[in-house]
Structure formats: structure tokens, C-alpha cells
Symmetry: C2
Subunit: 379 residues, 2 copies
């Protein structure tokens, strides 16, 4: 093992934090964005292309991988890093969120959750212990505890029940993680409690007492207004240990991420850059650009001549428009790459701004850039 | 312009020929295989990745490009090379074959063919002159004449009628090509005549009298038995000028190509390596391998540890199997790349064998390799 898991908080600017995570597979500069490699692949991209965007860590989905190709199979093949040819750090989720959103015939008990695969109907059981075991089989650098992901809206009683169950599962997760002798790897607990701040604080306190290498804020980015999400983040981060990384799960748009960093979050993951890219949407410093729009059909200019990524500088809008309209795979590949690269450039910009203690200036200027909109169409 | 079109026959081994084509966008060592970039993209692959397989020239489809995004649009954007970011040579077909296989409401006259787009029903006319004009707008290095691609089976009278029409169109194509002042670029005539050898010879003679930079054998690879195709090739190539390149259109499997080179063909194109790759089939020196087969699910070995292409050496069969079963885009990208790279390695092997005048040994050894089959599954 190269280096054990650690987190160093290097600098702050307001609530925004500049940090460094080390893992057995390498270091991660925070604030960090993790592209999503659902089924052991960031859709359509060579691992080298993902690294070429500046990404330092990927997220893998335990639910997808346990169903296909199976955790024991990946372990026998040398683990997830080797399987997918990604030598850098990997964080895996616990599987809980996707069990609730994709699987059928779910049944939740104190013990865990049983469900049937959305692929072939096979029956599975996922418990806190099994989730940890799967993530150990995958060889992931950062393991997430299993939690209950409630569907909102829900009553306060229901939110509290799920939060307390998640806390008990957090404790079982920690014991299981220690049982797998994963010394040097990271285990994160997940704060739940819906939009109820007192419940969120109880959850944060309970997790801190158990003790984790990092803390995630879960149960957000599920359709609530942005101000609700940011309010929960803002009230929760001060209740988390300053010397541990904080991860806002499943978030979000560039603006969501910018505002969450401003409230003390260090890590993010989201399918948006890849999923939207596959549907012809580009994320840029001019805001989102819909390449399927006819105004791009004759435009020889690249998406962003000043981008640090060659794909955003090289291919014309006309070509990206053509590929999008023709449903060509290369359009999906290029826009996924360009979008992840934009997210990474945004994170790099935030990191530099925090280092110079001018994060608020950066935040305002970035939002102004988006608000100014795309460069004018050629006349 | 870098260099004008030329062909140098450097060496022969039996009927097999080792040559060099120069074009305004670079040189091509023959025998050569051209990956198909239908809609201004080799499906899913960055141009750099295509070049990385060893490919020196791409084929573009006039029918697809005239419909979407349109030849005048590509010309206004600087031509096809710039549009798709491929700096090397490009050959385009005339559009005739795909009008017959894809378009609706076709009507053929002496003048040309009218049809409706399979995309949106728009009505188009394609004449020999318009086909040349479109290819000039695209800026292609090697232009193909418009010919009539007959559906087989057909009567001898019908085959002869189509062959003679194609000859008249060849003459009009040459005049049109000269009218576009495409000095330094290449124009190829197309031998037709079905499986009727005397008609093929008449077609070859007629085209030679008109005079082209190269000669294609068309109307094959449309479902006829391999021995019929090879018989036509074998009888036709001696009737073509030795100092001009010969192109067998739309062919084929590695075995088809090997046998056609043995009969004096210099250039090939086929969608097989990319299309089959998108469906989980790999071309290797062990023959074709179906990655969706369950026997690969736990196999940590690469497709071919001795391949010159990193993708064939790096990713495990288990991973390629997983990507194929999961319908992941990266599986399509990797197998398309691996397959084109195998085709290119086969061409490079043939070129080296001709240079050493041991083509027949190479042919036999290559076929033995395919016949021996895939490496045994792990027990």
C-alpha cells in the first residue's frame, strides 16, 4: 500500500476549504469532483481520457457491480482498479441509494434490505455488513456505510426513524469495516435527516461519536429546491469534525457545487456531466449549451477556445451539433469528456481561489460568467 | 497542396502488390485498409485513436454526408478533413451504393437517380456530375465515379445494361472532375458486370480507355459466395493497368482481404471491424472471438497478449465481456479500436511479406492461425 488514508486541511477562505486526501491509490486535491463510473466504466471514456480531464478519483456503484459482474468475480480478477484499468483512487457508494431507485420488491428490515435485481430478477440481500464486504472485495479506497435513503416527502417521524436506523447501520458498518482489516483505507459515515435541521445535527453528532474517516451528507439532490439543499449543508457542516473530509452525495450542477464548497463541502459526485453530455448538453464557463440547437449548425468556433481541454478547443460547434443530431457515439464521448473537464477546471479554479483566499470573488465571477451566457452566434 | 496523387508499385510477390499512394493529405502504404467514417466519424473513435490503429486513410460516405450535415455546409466549414479533425487522406464513395440500399422512392434514368432521404424524406437528385461536385465540396483526396449498383440476382441483360450505364457515367464523371479543376487529386473508375467475366472485362477495358487514377472493383461483397467474388477479382485485375491502384469496394473479412491481395488488389474498406465490434465480436489472429460468450466472464487474460495495440493487450477478456453484456459504450469503443488495429496489423503483415517476396507463406500461416482457433479457456 502506497499511503494510508488521511486528510490534511491546508487552507480556508470563508467556509470554503482547500485540502488533500491521501489514499492507498494516490492523492486527491479537494474540493474534488468524482466522475461516476457506474458499471466499472465512465460511460464511453477510456480511463486515460478520464485522467486527462484532471479527475483524480472515480466513484463506482456497489449496486450495479454486485449485480453485474459480481463483487466476488471482480475480487478474483484482482479488484476494481485492475478490472477497469484505473490506477487512481476509487470511492464506492454503499448500494443503498440505487436499491431504492432501481431494484424491485424491496423489503427493509432492521437487518438490511432484500430486493430483486432490475436486470434479471435475482434476489439479493444487502446488509451493512454485506455492503462493507462487497466494497472490500472491490478494493475501493473509500467505503461508504449503508444507509436508508428515504423517498421524500416523508413525515418527521419517518425521517427520524430512517435517520436512527442509518445511525445503527453506521455502527455496524464500522465494526464490519474493522473486521475486514481494511487498515489504511477510508470509511465514511452518512448524515441523514431530510430537511429537518435538528435531525441532521443529531445524525452528525451520532456519526462523530462513532468516528469515521470522513462524513457524507446524504439524502439531498433528490428533487428538493436548491435553497433547501444549501440550507441543510450550511447547518450541517459546522457540526462535522473540521479535520475530516465532507462529501455531498450526488450533487450536482456547477452552481450547486460552487455554493456547497462555499458552505464547507470537499467532495462531490454526479452523473450530470456524463448523462447530459450524452444528450447533447455541454457545460462551459458560459453556462449550459445545447448542441442540438440549430444555431450551432454552421458555427466553426469551438465550444470554448480558452478551455484547457483539447476537445473543447478542437472540435467545432458545427461538428458537435452534427454528431448530436446524427446520434453518433463520438458526440456522446466528446461531450462527456468536455463536461467532466469543465467540472474539473471549475474545481481547480476553486482550489486556486481558496489558496489565495479569494473564494468569494471567484464565486461571484463564475456566476457572472454563467449569467452572461454563451458567446453570441455568428451573424 | 502537399503532393499530387500518384501511385508507385514497389514490389510484387505472386500477384500480391506492395505499393505507395501519395495524396494531397499524405501517403498510404498498400495493400491498405480504410476504416469507414460514415457520417464524418468512425463510430465512437477519436480521430487520434483511428490513427493509433495504424490506419492511414479513411472512407467517407457521400450519401450520408450530402443528407446530413450537407456538402455545401461542410465546404463552408473548411472541408471534411477539418470538419472531422482528420488530417490524413480521405476517399469518398459516390453515394450510389447507399442510395440503392438506404434511400426510398428511387428512380433511375440516364441522367442519374432521384430519391428521398431515409432521414426526413427530402427529395434529392444524384447525377455523376453532382456526385463529383459533392466530393469536391468535401475536399476528398480520392473521388469515386457514380455507378449503378444493381441488386443481384439479375439477368445478364440487366447486368450488361447497368454496366454500360456505369461506363457512360464514368465518362461524365471524368469530365466533371476535370471541370472542378481537381488537379492533383485522384478519381477512380468502377468496374461493374456482376459475376459475368466477359462483361467485367468489357467494363475494365472501357474504363481504362477513359483513363482513371485508380480502378475499383464494385458490385461485390453483396452476398455472393466468396469463391464467386474471388473468381471475379482474379479475372478482372489482369485487365487493369498495373501502374494504377486497385480497390475492392466493401470487402470484407480478414480472409476475403488476404485472398484478394493474393489476386492483385491494393485497397479495401469495410464496416465489419466497427460494426461487429459494436456487437461484441473481436477480430484476432486466433480468428473471430465472441466476447458475449460466458466463457470469457472470469478470464483475466487480454484478447491477445502479443498484439501491437495496447487495447488488445491491456483490457481483460473478463472486462470486455462485462462491458459487452452490460451494453456499455466503452465496450463498443474498445472492440472497434481493437478490430481496426487487427485489420491494420494484417495489412502491415502482408506488406512486409510482399517486400520479402514470401506472401504465399504469410497467407498460409495466417489462415492456419485462424483455423487453430482461440487460445484455450482457463480451466
Amino acid at each position: 500500500m502506497a499511503e494510508p488514508f488521511s486528510f490534511t486541511l491546508k487552507q480556508t477562505s470563508g467556509m470554503a476549504r482547500r485540502g488533500e486526501i491521501t489514499t492507498p491509490h494516490g492523492a486527491i486535491s479537494t474540493p474534488a469532483f468524482m466522475p461516476v463510473g457506474t458499471a466499472a466504466t465512465v460511460k464511453g471514456l477510456h480511463p486515460e481520457a478520464v485522467a486527462g480531464t484532471g479527475a483524480q478519483i472515480l466513484l463506482g456503484n456497489t449496486y450495479h457491480l454486485m449485480l453485474r459482474p459480481g463483487a466476488e468475480r471482480i475480487a478474483a480478477l484482482g479488484g476494481l482498479h485492475k478490472f477497469m484499468n484505473w490506477p487512481g483512487p476509487i470511492l464506492t457508494d454503499s448500494g443503498g441509494f440505487q436499491v431504492m431507485s432501481l431494484a424491485t420488491l424491496r423489503k427493509l428490515t432492521e437487518q438490511g434490505v432484500t430486493f430483486r435485481s432490475h436486470i434479471d430478477g435475482t434476489k439479493y440481500e444487502l446488509t451493512p455488513e454485506r455492503s462493507i464486504e462487497i466494497q472490500a472485495l472491490l478494493g475501493t479506497d473509500i467505503t461508504m456505510q449503508l444507509d436508508e435513503c428515504l423517498r421524500l416527502p416523508a413525515s418527521r417521524e419517518e425521517i427520524e426513524r430512517a435517520m436512527r436506523l442509518s445511525l445503527r447501520w453506521a455502527e455496524r458498518s464500522k465494526r464490519a469495516f474493522e473486521g475486514h482489516a481494511r487498515d489504511g483505507f477510508g470509511l465514511f459515515g452518512i448524515v441523514q435527516g431530510g430537511d429537518d435541521i435538528p435531525l441532521r445535527l443529531k445524525s452528525a453528532q451520532g456519526l462523530t461519536e462513532i468516528g469515521f474517516h470522513g462524513y457524507a451528507v446524504g439524502g439531498l439532490a433528490v428533487g428538493e429546491p436548491q435553497e433547501v439543499m444549501l440550507k441543510v449543508v450550511e447547518e450541517t457542516t459546522p457540526a462535522l469534525p473540521a479535520d475530516r473530509p465532507r462529501y455531498l452525495m450526488g450533487v450536482g450542477t456547477p452552481h450547486d457545487i460552487l455554493e456547497a464548497v462555499a458552505r464547507g463541502i470537499d467532495m462531490f459526485d454526479c452523473v450530470m456531466p456524463t448523462r447530459n453530455g450524452r444528450h447533447g448538453m455541454a457545460f462551459t464557463r458560459f453556462g449550459q449549451i445545447n448542441l442540438s440547437n440549430a444555431r450551432h449548425a454552421d458555427d466553426p468556433r469551438p465550444l470554448d477556445a480558452d478551455s484547457q481541454h483539447p476537445a473543447a478547443r478542437t472540435y467545432s460547434r458545427a461538428y458537435l451539433h452534427h454528431l448530436t443530431k446524427a446520434g453518433e457515439m463520438l458526440g456522446q464521448v466528446l461531450l462527456s469528456t468536455i463536461n467532466i473537464a469543465y467540472y474539473q477546471a471549475l474545481m481547480a479554479g476553486m482550489r486556486a481561489a481558496i489558496e489565495q483566499d479569494r473564494f468569494e470573488d471567484f464565486r461571484v465571477a463564475t456566476i457572472e460568467g454563467w449569467a452572461a451566457g454563451d458567446i453570441p452566434a455568428l451573424s
